[in-house]
Symmetry: C2
Subunit: 526 residues, 2 copies
């Protein structure tokens, strides 16, 4: 039987653009994993790895025009957005090169012998090693930043793990182009190109998660797909870490004071955020708690304006389009739900959809019949739940699943003065407006990995302090897929006990020959 062809499809027309190779067979998967595994020794050199990530960024930039054109043709996300995404992707690779050189991620800890400890402490020296081959499952909605050259790949390579990417079927040509750029970057740094391999095909993805030499996996995508792979990773004879980003509602709470002071700004900002990338951001605000009454009405007026002005466009593929239209339909039919701007198919463009939003009384969200409104609807739709009082906010928040982000919009007085802190606010009664804001922040914090005040969650900065990951189903682990600490997912610690200096890796030798940040006998160095 011939291997199934892989097609690049134009979502603006629904038509095939070109064939991009074929789906990987089980033996292709095995060959790719073995080749990647064989490349782990040369990849163990930290300075070579840093050079590789920088060379990869340069290669991506050199091929930028081709990549951007192809990515736009396959995703319809538009070249301006994709240009920013490419810049961010390259900056991310370079940031990880910096993290490799900094070396704090190694967590070097040295305890010299202490015969007086209980029990007596031998000489112990600990740092972190790469886990081995990492399987990366690419996302559809960021064909660069969360795909072949994205955060999972960059952080795994930075950790010293070779990567086998299961490409997303929505942009196979872009995957090939970016994969080739990374492989050229590897060669530039004197590494085997197979430190990064790209495979296509659904079955190949299942084969990959079960391969004995695959030591960990990263995933960005749907709850259904991610959970299936998570389950497969856990069911292996030797289970492996599975870091999956699955789905997120990204709740927003707008306080009465915020609505009174900034109704128009908040409505416009919400409209911009929820329609960005045709609503296909994993951080799209999908549920907004806004007050009933005239201030909330003004917010909706501004939202209506913004959504009417937002462009229509195709979703990433036909299946997503079907799911979006069905999701809008099912939500709109629920009791108490209204659609001030109806999202749906564009009558003048067979592929495009238009954005919209729904409203519902917040108290409805506590009814089992309305649970669908607490699930992510991928695409340009948000739900505004109108609350009458703070108890209704609390009741809704208590029912929410885990999220990547949670956002609080507050008034000026609520952000000022001596409030208790977010973490410690507790249930204090009769607090002032700042105290109430602190209580809301404390109620949102358990729901998400990133908590924002007076902003919008779309747009995820690549920064050391970033946390892109939250309670399940936002993430299947407690990790982040963006930011410096994303590297921690692909490492395991090892401690050497009473090992003669000449046999120790240089990172662990006395005198700190590599100048690393270390903890030595409880004291921090560098």
């Amino acid at each position: 039987m011939a291997a199934a062809p892989v097609w690049s499809v134009d979502p603006r027309t629904g038509k095939r653009r070109e064939q991009v190779g074929t789906e990987a067979t089980a033996s292709d998967v095995d060959a790719a994993v073995r080749a990647a595994h064989a490349a782990r020794e040369p990849l163990a050199d930290r300075s070579v790895r840093a050079a590789f990530l920088r060379a990869a960024a340069a290669r991506l930039e050199a091929a930028g025009e081709d990549i951007l054109h192809t990515a736009d043709a396959e995703t319809a996300l538009g070249e301006p957005r994709l240009t920013g995404e490419l810049a961010r992707t390259c900056a991310q690779l370079r940031a990880f090169a910096g993290e490799i050189e900094d070396g704090a991620y190694l967590g070097v800890t040295i305890d010299h012998p202490d015969p007086d400890a209980t029990p007596p402490c031998p000489d112990l020296r600990r740092y972190k090693l790469p886990l081995g081959v990492v399987a990366v499952y690419a996302a559809s909605n960021f064909p660069l930043a969360f795909s072949v050259p994205g955060g999972d790949t960059a952080s795994a390579l930075a950790a010293g793990c070779p990567v086998v990417v299961k490409a997303h079927p929505d942009h196979p040509a872009t995957s090939e182009l970016t994969g080739a750029a990374l492989r050229r970057g590897a060669a530039d740094a004197g590494l085997p190109e197979d430190v990064l391999c790209v495979l296509h095909g659904f079955d190949a993805g299942l084969e990959l998660i079960g391969h004995p030499l695959v030591a960990a996996a990263g995933f960005t995508g749907s709850v259904r797909g991610g959970r299936a792979l998570f389950d497969a990773a856990a069911a292996r004879p030797q289970p492996i870490p599975f870091h999956g980003e699955l789905g997120s509602l990204n709740p927003v709470v707008v306080t009465a004071e915020a609505a009174r002071e900034r109704a128009a700004d908040i409505g416009a900002g919400l409209g911009g955020s929820m329609t960005m990338g045709t609503g296909q951001f994993c951080t799209k605000p999908g549920l907004v708690l806004a007050p009933e009454g005239p201030d909330g009405d003004r917010l909706l007026d501004a939202l209506t304006d913004a959504v009417h002005k937002a462009p229509h466009g195709p979703l990433l593929d036909a299946r997503m389009r079907e799911a979006f239209l069905a999701g809008v339909e099912a939500r709109t039919r629920l009791d108490g739900v209204e659609a001030p701007v109806r999202a749906g198919a564009d009558p003048e463009d067979g592929q495009a959809v238009g954005p919209g939003y729904l409203t519902v009384p917040a108290r409805k969200l506590t009814e089992p019949s309305h649970e669908l409104l607490l699930e992510e609807c991928f695409g340009p739709l948000t739900v505004v739940a109108r609350y009458r009082d703070r108890d209704e906010i609390a009741d809704v928040l208590a029912r929410l699943p885990g999220n990547l982000t949670a956002t609080l919009h507050i008034g000026e007085a609520e952000g000022a003065g001596e409030a208790e802190s977010a973490a410690g606010a507790g249930e204090a009664e009769g607090a002032g407006s700042a105290g109430q804001a602190a209580q809301l922040l404390a109620a949102l914090t358990p729901l998400a990995g990133r908590v924002l005040v007076n902003g919008w969650p779309t747009g995820v900065a690549v920064a050391p302090a970033q946390q892109h990951g939250g309670p399940y189903p936002a993430t299947t682990s407690t990790s982040t897929s963006v930011g410096a600490t994303a590297i921690e997912r692909w490492l395991r610690p090892v401690a050497y006990q009473n090992t003669p200096e000449p046999l120790l890796p240089p990172e662990l030798r006395d005198g700190n020959p590599l100048g690393l940040p270390r903890r030595v006998d409880g004291r921090r160095e560098n």
Copy 2:
């Protein structure tokens, strides 16, 4: 139906000592988890937590006589060993109090806004929060250090997570006593006693892992029991982290030079390590690769002497005794296996077993028929595999599963001179003796979390650089259950974006009011 009674049993006689309450019903489990969950807010205060852990240590010491007597009566491990274990357990609680105050575990990272970044970077401030209620499954073989007041409990409480312990049925009375001491320590510090709850019963353990308010679990025990709970944790609607320490063979390689220089010492040391605690240490050396020929023979002579001198004693319970005797039997029957000192039942003491060891040609270990020899046999037995050359060592190492520890015994010249490092040794041909040692260390490193040179793996120091955890089945995650970083298992990061200073927790405010170690705009503070 009345709840099943829980009996304390004396393993020296096999007779019941006393009834210790009853097994927890599903509603008992629910009540305990809810009570623990309700205690998480007071536990959020770091200085109160540190005081609690110190008070708990003091309470354990105050009740020390009763605890030691009871633990010895239930485990037959002997008061000298248990005295050391109690000291270590208390030192561990105090060490975590120190870690709480140090605050490095919070991983505070602050990035001030950077409008020139790609994409522009907002104000981001990240630290770590406790996950919530932690379920701890206690081990049988360390009734203090890996049980109710042990490392899982201490590290979870240090992280700010209330703990519900599923006690081990081999020492229920000790579990109650130590649990009461911890609860009194909580009260001493002004905390609700329910920050720590103790439950009994197999079914209660299953109920616990599925409870919606349980946010993570720690386990020390068998591969079968641990894997069943791991699977249950992964199958939950919302999967939770499961940090299980399951089983470990703890391989030892003795080079020809080491045997020539120190055959008698190595044989005696091995005999001491493998019979310690009647062979019931998770770090017991279970497989030793020693050279054929006269140096290896001298090693065995010394081992024979040491094993003959080692005391007989009861195992922790009747089920373990049966498993041990059957395990010895099955291994002894294998082709090529000999038993210079036969382990087995003590004919003069109906409960006791005597230690022993087996020998086998190393090449047999590569045959599928002999796979049993690559599995842990819990109790005082070790297997010495005699190798003819280094290729046979490599062949055996290639077949080993993951381990807590791996040990290398080398000669003096092998630990000296300018060798390549453990991590980078690779496959260099024709290296000198130090180079060969480095190659062996490099081959052992992927197999374990702790790698020792010229020592014995039993005895796990409580130290910042400790790593007690290794590739599956040693551990179900990449974490450690001993040492400062054990706390990392019970935390998740959260980042606050553009949050006004008064709403931020003090840990994340400008000016570092708490004097924490932090990373601010890429620079390390304190």
